[in-house]
């Protein structure tokens, strides 16, 4: 009998608390609904409709079809190709750098590389473009000193852009793979060696399978950030390399044809679909890599 009131008190308190908690979340949800939800829905709606000021908009698939044709399709494919290539190179290079750091005896090296990576991974945008233009652009220091232009080098091309993207993708990969490399237990390697495995066999049959989810997850993450990048490319190449972000910007600021805006919205929707796919692949991989590497 005496336990009943005791257990009833917390039970009565808890819903109250939860309610107070929920109220604290309301401003955030409202804000996201307005500042993010409205533009996102407007984008989705605009992608499927026509726009004529003063007239009701009509449903159409024309924008989406147009966004997957001709120059727009080239831009989408260009973005996918650039992101995939630069992400792939960054995964390999990032793994090599991370491994070199993790196995190093110098604690200082590890600390320096980690801090530098944290900084460089955020170093997208305009300054990055300028740094590479000053270095490898048409009048860049290295271009003129080494006469690279005579060998057919141009920064303002697909390859040039790939080289620039590596600058923020490799640090991102280093940051995301170092925890996994730390999680590879020494005992696994010793066990493999005791069983007569060579270093290559250890990597082929033990380390890489364990690392695969985090490597794939890293690839997907890098792909996503390269795919969404705009500022660097805009400051650097203008529109000489077809990329979907550049196409959207051109269509939006063109201001000539109201239809162009709706095609830009359709292209944005294409991007959202791809970015969503990226997240859908990334999250389970993240969980899986967390399972082995506690």
């Amino acid at each position: 009998m005496s336990t009943a009131p005791l257990s009833a008190t917390p039970a009565r308190r808890r819903p109250q608390r939860a309610a107070a908690g929920r109220f604290a979340v309301v401003p955030l949800l409202l804000f996201v609904a307005v500042a993010f939800g409205v533009p996102a829905l407007a984008m989705a709606y605009g992608a499927f409709t026509t726009y004529n000021p003063g007239k009701p908009s009509q449903y159409t698939m024309g924008n989406l079809t147009a966004s997957l044709q001709g120059g727009y399709l080239d831009a989408l494919l260009g973005s996918v190709k650039l992101s995939a290539l630069s992400a792939l190179i960054s995964v390999v290079a990032g793994l090599l750098v991370a491994q070199a750091v993790v196995t190093s005896r110098f604690a200082f090296l590890r600390k320096a590389v980690l801090s530098a990576s944290g900084v460089l991974a955020n170093f997208g945008g305009v300054p990055l473009a300028f740094a590479f233009m000053a270095t490898l652009g048409n009048a860049g220091m290295l271009t003129t000193k080494l006469h690279l232009d005579q060998h057919g080098w141009s920064l303002y091309s697909f390859n040039g852009l790939t080289l620039v993207y590596l600058y923020f993708l490799i640090p991102l990969m280093v940051l995301s793979v170092i925890p996994s490399l730390d999680g590879l237990r020494r005992q696994w390697r010793e066990a493999a060696q005791n069983n007569g495995a060579t270093g290559w066999q250890y990597w082929r049959h033990v380390a890489l399978p364990v690392l695969t989810p985090s490597l794939l997850g890293g690839f997907v993450l890098l792909f996503g950030s390269a795919f969404a990048a705009y500022a660097t490319a805009a400051a650097m190449v203008g529109a000489t390399v077809p990329l979907i972000t550049l196409q959207i910007a051109t269509a939006l600021s063109g201001n000539v044809d109201p239809n162009a805006t709706n095609i830009a919205l359709a292209m944005s929707l294409d991007m959202v679909v791809i970015a969503t796919l990226v997240m859908v692949v990334y999250i389970p991989l993240q969980r899986r890599s967390a399972r082995w590497l506690v």
């Binding site: 604290a24 996201v32 996102a40 984008m43 300028f130 705009y230 400051a235 997240m279």
Partner: protein
Amino acid sequence: MAGVTASALTTEGRPAPSTANGSGPAGARGGVLAGLARIRWGRGTVLLVAGLYFLVPIATTLWFTVDNSPQGFSLDAYRQIFTVPGLWPALQLSLLLAVGTIVLVYLLLIPAVVAVRLGSPRLRTVVELTCTLPLVVPTIALTAGISDVLRWCNDNLAPTPFYATFLDAQNANFPVVLLLAYVVMALPLAFRTLDAGMRALDVRTLLEAAQNNGASRARAIVTVILPNLRSAMLNTAFITLALVLGEFTVASILGYVPFAVWIVNGNSAGQGPVTVAVSIVSLLLTWVLLLVLSVGSERRGRAQAQH
């Protein structure tokens, strides 16, 4: 020896294994000279190439800004930073937006993060999902959506009293539109940072202790929880500041001229060296900021571990 290094280099073509080879005790105990040579070469090459790749662009950019051919060395580009037209208004706008973004992020996220820590797992899922959603919509797509909303408002709100509000929101001196976009863009990282800081605290116990001592709930949160959250809040502020200072996409497409947009415009308007100098200075400042941040949080972490 040459043969050994050569073979080491050929295996180096394959990723990672050879670099890792000697790190295990067995490799070292084996005492094979080849093994030792291999590690050094592998790791050394990787780090050297990476170091060159990451340092050369910075070094040559600095060189570019002080090399005023034909006279040679000159600091003109840096001197012009103080006189070049347009830079200060642009920087002012960026800083103003940064402060606004940070304040709004705090106001929205801190109560939410506290609530998530105290509330049910379902609440956490909802908030986590809400804060992750912006990652699915790339910045440029968000910008397209915003400009679509603005177009619709422009065409439909003119006869209504809301039109004045709508114009205010686009005021070039303090564009609320940009502020909203920046808060959305800052949410994912800010939530993670604040949530991680909150996870390190035993919020429930702290709150109960404060309330047992007679503090109201709000007061307990302000005087007990927030001071403990200081380093996470500082992290969030720095990250948000870096984001807003460097932001180019939304601002340039919507036609505003904060810092990053000014740099690009100035560069194409023929003020090459100054804009490169400004961008390198902004870059170095951001780096110092982030480095101070990472060193500071490490030191605090160590201090806490000692207690």
